[in-house]
């Protein structure tokens, strides 16, 4: 959908947020 709107560099994050947290990288709380 983003590519259709003209964004040329769209990349999904491997593993999503879980993958990011499993790698030990910082997160912030959301309301």
């Amino acid at each position: 959908m983003l590519i259709d709107k003209g964004y040329t560099k769209v990349r999904p994050l491997a593993g999503g947020l879980d993958g990011w947290m499993d790698a030990g990288y910082p997160v912030e709380d959301v309301a």
């Binding site: 959908m1 983003l2 709107k5 003209g6 964004y7 040329t8 560099k9 769209v10 990349r11 999904p12 994050l13 491997a14 593993g15 999503g16 947020l17 879980d18 993958g19 990011w20 947290m21 790698a23 990288y25 910082p26 997160v27 912030e28 709380d29 959301v30 309301a31």
Partner: protein, 268 residues
Amino acid sequence: MTSLVHYVLHYGIPLIFFNVLLEQLGAPVPAVPALIVAGALSRDGKMSSTNVLLAALFASLIADYIWFLLGRRYGYRILRTLCRISLSPDSCVRDTEARFERWGAKSLLIAKFIPGFSTVAPPLAGASGRTSAAFLIYDGIGALLWAGSAVAAGRAFHRAIDRLLAALENLGGWALVIVLCVLALVITVKWAQRVHFLKQLRLARIQPDELMAMLDRGEMPVVLDVRSAGARKHNPHAIPTAIVAQMDDIDSRLSDLAPHQEVVLYCT
């Protein structure tokens, strides 16, 4: 009575039961053709449509309730497992989750008619905290609507299906070979679609350490959190600098973004 029809009639109900059970558990064995044939045979008075519908209903409820309980136990992570075993790329698309959130448990009434959504709906219902009673009621009605539609189609086109069965009977043992070849072709096409879809995802995706390195270097890609509201409630954290966006308001959220800018998104 021809031997093929005799075989189908003798083992028909257990065959329907296991076909529906395996399909709803995630195996690539379409149950609709069997339900249509059963409908045609019931129109000729050779099979009970009530027994066919009951077999399909119970098989569906058993399989779907297993996925519901897995969704309740493991939350949104179960969607990743489903994505791995399902041959339907639609199961992995964020829109199916958004559809469930918009319609709620009532979406179970029509889930089985929508490819991909039928796979995702039961575990999503579990992950989003629906009660077992509500799930079983809506899922049961949905299963009856789905199986009933296929049986009704079989009853409506019973003459054509009778001719098809007679033609298969004339082929003798080759009939089984043809049916197995058609099934293998369906599975191969779905598998190829899935491999292509996952390959595209794999080529495009960015690893967490790559993203972290970009952030450390100050490159500041736009990070989009496009998770559903339910997923965000289940895991109330986000990557620093991430912009929360839903697909229907993404234009307003990205209005200042240049098209060449790098965008990283996560939906689980």
